[in-house]
Point group: D4
Chain length 215, copies 8
């Protein structure tokens, strides 16, 4: 597995990461890593590689955009001194343009998204042993759907940045598209964003596979 023994892995993002994690730091006993994908990462790492002793820290906050991540990057990422960092951001950057179309001040358009995410990566990558960038996703198979189309553009930015900054890229959209060959989106998430346990597991598995995790 790519991640070294005794590493500290911080996962940052929005509600797909948060899952009612502990505050201010999502690490420790009693479900501190939350109820969704990060705790599944923690569970699988601990169950399969107990000897690796990886610290998993969940720093997601529901509703966040990359603009919000920038505001808390020092305290919530850099000050924690991660060895590995996982970033999953962009869904709200896109979604607000569709569910609050009139409140334009809440929209994070593509240039701001790209620029901010790159700025955060640039100043953090040198301090890390490894970086995992996950694409934002929309659980909708129709690529002509306007929100899916925009989400794909944001995902493409993530893919480019991963290539530029020596990061592992996890294509979560492709993962969900694979499942959607077999079932309808409502089976995974009524709102096509917050997935059920199958979707949470899908994310954790894709993340771990990028690290060459063996089940």
């Amino acid at each position: 597995m790519k991640i070294a023994r005794n590493s500290k892995l911080v996962l940052i993002g929005d509600s797909i990461t948060d899952g009612e994690r502990a505050r201010p730091v999502g690490e420790g006993l009693f479900g501190a890593t939350g109820k969704i994908y990060p705790s599944k990462v923690q569970g699988l790492l601990g169950a399969v590689y107990p000897e690796q002793k990886i610290r998993v820290v969940n720093m997601g906050i529901s509703g966040n955009t990359v603009r919000d991540l920038k505001g808390r990057w020092q305290a919530d990422v850099l000050d924690l001194h991660p060895d590995w960092l996982g970033i999953l951001i962009g869904i709200n950057d896109v979604w607000r343009q569709f569910d609050l179309p009139l409140q334009v001040e809440t929209h994070v358009k593509l240039p701001e998204y790209r620029e901010t995410l790159e700025e955060l990566i640039k100043k953090t990558r040198p301090k890390l042993q490894g970086l995992v960038l996950m694409s934002p996703f929309f659980i909708e198979l129709n690529k002509q759907d306007p929100m899916r189309r925009m989400m794909d553009e944001y995902g493409a930015v993530v893919k480019e940045l991963a290539a530029s900054y020596d990061a592992l890229f996890v294509d979560l959209q492709a993962e969900f598209d694979r499942i959607l060959q077999h079932t309808y989106s409502a089976d995974l998430a009524w709102d096509r964003v917050h997935p059920s346990v199958v979707g949470e597991t899908l994310i954790a598995r894709a993340f771990l596979k990028a690290l060459d995790f063996q089940f």
Copy 2:
């Protein structure tokens, strides 16, 4: 307006009707008609036609399919002796086939839907001054979407039954499609089913327009 003075109007259906109405009967003070479309019907009738003195009774129950309506039809419709009846049912009949695809016992397939709805209408229509049948809807513009496609089939049944049984037909799907020309579905409902205040108002307005309500 088509509905006569001193009429009693019962609205039956699922969560689109229910809206936390009072139990066992959704009529009276303190928001007894619920928070959504039926109370908007009540508000508009009362504000514009106070002299008509229409009783509005909400008998919706969240999660219901037409199979559930059949089970409570005597107590919740016939025993209330409505003059007019509004029926909006079918969304869950379809949705369960998409969000619980494996739990087939929860699915109300098209033949059962048609047969049951017709049976209920047949035995009730003679006792009514008027009947309003509303199409079930899915807030999704893409007619190739599998759930939208099936919902359209259920809606077509409602339209046929309206024609056969001298009922007013309200094409709610067409109403939502009109709005979706101007905004994305997430602005109306994250889950494309339970609409925000704009969608609730849309339903009430379409219902009232069918009655020749003048604002």
Copy 3:
């Protein structure tokens, strides 16, 4: 309709406006515009004129008098940069003189009411595309009733100010008087102030009719 495409409409007032709106700003998803008249304005605008894309922002606070509005005018009106503004204030200014007759420090007498309201209008009108002034009301048909009599005096001030400052005037008292031809006040509001859904709808409708809204 008088209100232009892409306008921002702020509604300010007391409990008749508030209705458990979101804090600090009553705009957004999940019922942020509250449960009463402003959300009905929002619902009707969105359902009928989706292409107009009007932002509706509810800034009511229960219990407020015009004295309270003055204290929060900068933050809650001017800083939001409305294109259109709706003001419905004065009920508590009058009511406290009748329900807390001994606590004279809570009373906003007519001169203070007129002067304060005019001051707020004067400094705001030039920044607006349109202003709607609604009369305070008391759901009591007897014009000799002391509280009704005083409410009429406050309403007359609103009407005068509307004429002086190029504002649309909405005579809510006249609207309620119309309904009261057909039913008793207790059917609308036990306390003759906080109306049921019929009264909330009445206010929204009168407001919208002043804007030449077509249902």
Copy 4:
């Protein structure tokens, strides 16, 4: 004082009597007689005439009409074997005709009111040492108000029955009218029905004065 030592006094009625009394019987420690007029009767009797040892039992239930009293008369009055009985009923009998005008099945019209109340009195009076009948009231000074006018008719029935059945008559409407010479109804009750502490005390005092209570 008219009421004899060691008597048991039962007070029955609606929400004006109930006041969150203990169930099933409103007697005992920890506010069992409720928070309003019956507990004030209890407090004054106990403070001024401790040697009389009068048992006060509150059997009011909010929302009751005389039709409801009939349904529970055996269990809630006769089975308690009162020496004295106080009855204050009729407000909801009238109110429902004004706040739920369309739900006619909830209305207790004057003939039913008179007949039912007389039936209850007739079968109970012989078992009692004393009976106190209080008029229902509406805290509104305008005698032309429709609800006040009807309430006065119901009050007249109570007065007649008091004369016919050797009962003390307490004219609560007259008591409230006296207060209303000095203040507006909203100072006593926003809904003109459920009075503040001043009104509760007014009822208790009028009741006790009918018994020749000396403060």
Copy 5:
């Protein structure tokens, strides 16, 4: 009645006064004067003398000793500009010596009690139209009981100060002793301190009788 029309009456004290009054000032609608003796004073004044228009303000705080009163005297008494003031303090000053005998820092011994109370009276009496001093009390008939004995000493101080500073003195201990001729203390208060509705009424009545209130 001794208290003049339009007077403001402030009642200050401990839990015998507080009774869940509103904060920060115990005046206004919805039970703001609390549930116990001050609201009974308010109720009786309003019911019998509505034309006098007396403002009743409850400033009691549970658990207070005279040392606590001193700490909040400016804000809670002087700044309210009372015309009349009622003080009922001393029970906790004594009680803590008996229920927390080891926590001597909570004890307010007799000299401190006398000195502090006198200081507060001295600086306030000139600003008042009238002052009512009530003795602290213990609902125990046995004058040899140690806590009763000490309470009597504190009561004697109140009586002396009333004589020195032209205040009306209300001997609440004597009032409770009168009741205790007819019933046992547990009927009034399990803890012999916080009285039931009979005791609360007793205090209100004694207070009002000192003002020549006529029922």
Copy 6:
């Protein structure tokens, strides 16, 4: 210690025994024996004599009199097959005569108390290895106090029955009297009935000393 290895000890009584024990049977994990004297008995037995393996079962119910015990004796005592039984009853039998003096139907007078308690003992004693009878108590040193005086009479009955039926007698009143030499009753219990942790411990210790428990 008198109680044999592997014995089952049931403690029955009123609120002095109950202490929020588990229902229906007060035995097991997580504080099932309640918070007061029985759990202290359990704690001391387990800490000092772990090898004795005594089962402690709390069957107290707050508010009970001996009349209530009779009603549940079969289910709550006999069906549990205790080896040893502890009974502490009588406080409410006396107290109701003092705190609810008018509700005579709640009073358990001395003859009924004696007769009922004897009946229960008579039919149970033969099935027991040992029986402990505790006197009811009142935390008041003044033997002339009416409630103390009556409590002493009830305690005397318990003592007599203990002598007649080969039971251990625990004189709890004497225990409390000893403490009251050094502190005032309010330090132990504001209501002189429900003791603080010192009083609970006192009961447990007296109970255990009767069994020749060595600390």
Copy 7:
């Protein structure tokens, strides 16, 4: 994978299975399969094999022993018509012998455990496509620990029954022992029974590996 397409898999057991699943049947939306091992099985099956469409139904109830399973076997297993069944039972059968040593009626001794479990398997196996038996476990490495020792005996019974009845055997104790080579039991479960997310995942993984699940 051994489990066939469109199979229904029921998982029955105690708190290790339950995890706040939905009642009465743990299947459906919104976390109906609970928060622990069954939902992890569901998540992994759905994420990796979406085309297999396996129904996962959680029927665990906290605190159950095999004696409890017997009592609800018809309703909770047979009536659901599972294709595959997973059973994890025995922990409470053992634990009660150690944490409630005196309450022997709660103990399910080894012979009863073996006999009851065999009876359930015997009557169910013929109706199943496959059966998975998991050993009960105790998260304690010391095999001389008395509770571990007894748990191993119960686990041996499960292993034997698996061999006799053509069931897959999952040795969960061996799984936990493997983890305990690398960390202390408190890292997995303070009580050595209810495991954290790592332990829940361990169970799900061992279960799935027995089915030849490929990650």
Copy 8:
């Protein structure tokens, strides 16, 4: 008994001491000393030696290590001016090394433990009449268990410091070991740390025996 009349005894520690005590200071009425060992000390002292009048103050805080004690020593110990002090600390210092093995910043290793505890004792001992040091404990009989082994090392430090600083040493580990001869750890504490009422009593008893308390 070693502790003198009128002494103030402060007990400081972690969750074994805390037990939901009152904040900020755990002394006074209504269970202010918490529900566990300190209140049992208070109960026994008060029941047996009422004439000694010992003040018992609980200053435990759940989760504390000796590092936390240092941070609050001035406010929570020195400022309270105890005559006697009881310290029970170290369990969390050890436990975190076993239940949060990766979060090394939470670990208080042996040298820090020794140094910090000695520093606190050194500066406090001269101000005290007596000091009681209790060993931390782990309710596990197996001395080869890694956590038990480490706990024994921390306990040895406490024993040494007791000898060096003229403190009474209470060997709680030995006490629990004694009980564990007769029952399994799960009977005392599922987590082997937070004991049931038997364990709480064991601690109180051992503490008191060190003071030559006679039951």
